[in-house]
């Protein structure tokens, strides 16, 4: 259990910034279970990667704002950007992307797993796009 805390980080729309995001989470969640931290790190990195690749088509020079809120029993990461929003149908469909037959190797997915991973490793999440600002919230119980 960690003391309550809220910290912010702004990164550029470059894939190299995902490492900075990981370091930021580790610095501010030191002492947390590695399994919980690992899940939140993965969900957050996937979100940033998705914004860079699909929201901005790898165009650098735009801001992604992250806020980590530590509560006594929960972590929340909020990620805001002004890129192209995630289409609603893609967001919904991604919840089923990992429903595959593990024994049928030929049918296994090799791409498009980012959103599905976010849904899988976060306890819950929400997404909205309001007046050009996309807001993704990831939650994980601690």
């Amino acid at each position: 259990m960690l003391d309550p805390l809220t910290v912010c980080l702004t990164v550029d729309t470059r894939l190299e910034e995902t490492y900075k995001v990981s370091q930021w989470l580790h610095t501010n969640c030191a002492g947390l279970s590695p399994l919980i931290l690992g899940s939140m790190e993965l969900a957050t990195v996937e979100a940033v990667t998705n914004i860079v690749r699909h929201g901005w088509q790898n165009e650098a020079g735009h801001e992604i704002e992250l806020t980590l809120t530590r509560r006594l029993n929960e972590l929340e990461v909020t990620i805001c950007d002004r890129g192209k929003p995630i289409p609603r149908e893609a967001f919904v469909a991604s919840q089923c992307a990992l429903d595959f037959d593990p024994k049928d190797v030929s049918q296994l997915p090799t791409g498009g797993l980012g959103l599905a991973l976010m849904h899988t490793v976060a306890d819950r999440l929400s997404y909205e796009s309001v007046e050009g600002v996309n807001i993704l919230r990831l939650f994980k119980s601690v």
Binding site: T18, L98, V105
Partner: protein, 112 residues
């Protein structure tokens, strides 16, 4: 990115020389392992003990390599750190790949 060791004429052990397998380096790993799959007649054992982060790009590349290998026992994974094993479990990838707790057990399984 890889440290290679021939175990015998049919088996090669590769240790990932990186802490992260992600969107930045998954393509490099893909090219290197693809070459080894073509060169190695039977079995490639991948030691993951250095890896403490994997993302969807990393998982996707591993699945693609498994497809290229053709069968789970031709591309074997071992030594997953607990957070990585957790991700494999949450995504059902632990049912896709042959995964062993250690290099010794992965190599011994060949004889079994």
């Amino acid at each position: 990115m890889l440290v290679e060791k021939d175990i015998d004429s049919h088996t090669k052990l590769v240790t990932l020389d990186t802490q992260r397998l992600d969107v930045l380096n998954a393509g490099t790993l893909k090219r290197q392992i693809q070459s080894l799959i073509e060169e190695t007649p039977n079995r490639l054992v991948m030691d993951f003990h250095t890896v403490n982060f994997i993302d969807s790009s990393g998982l996707g590349v591993l699945v693609g390599l498994l497809k290229k290998a053709g069968a789970p026992d031709r591309l074997v994974i071992c030594n997953l750190q607990p957070p990585i094993a957790e991700i494999f479990g949450m995504t059902n990838m632990d049912r896709v790949f042959s995964i062993y707790p250690s290099v010794d057990e992965a190599l011994a399984a060949k004889a079994g």
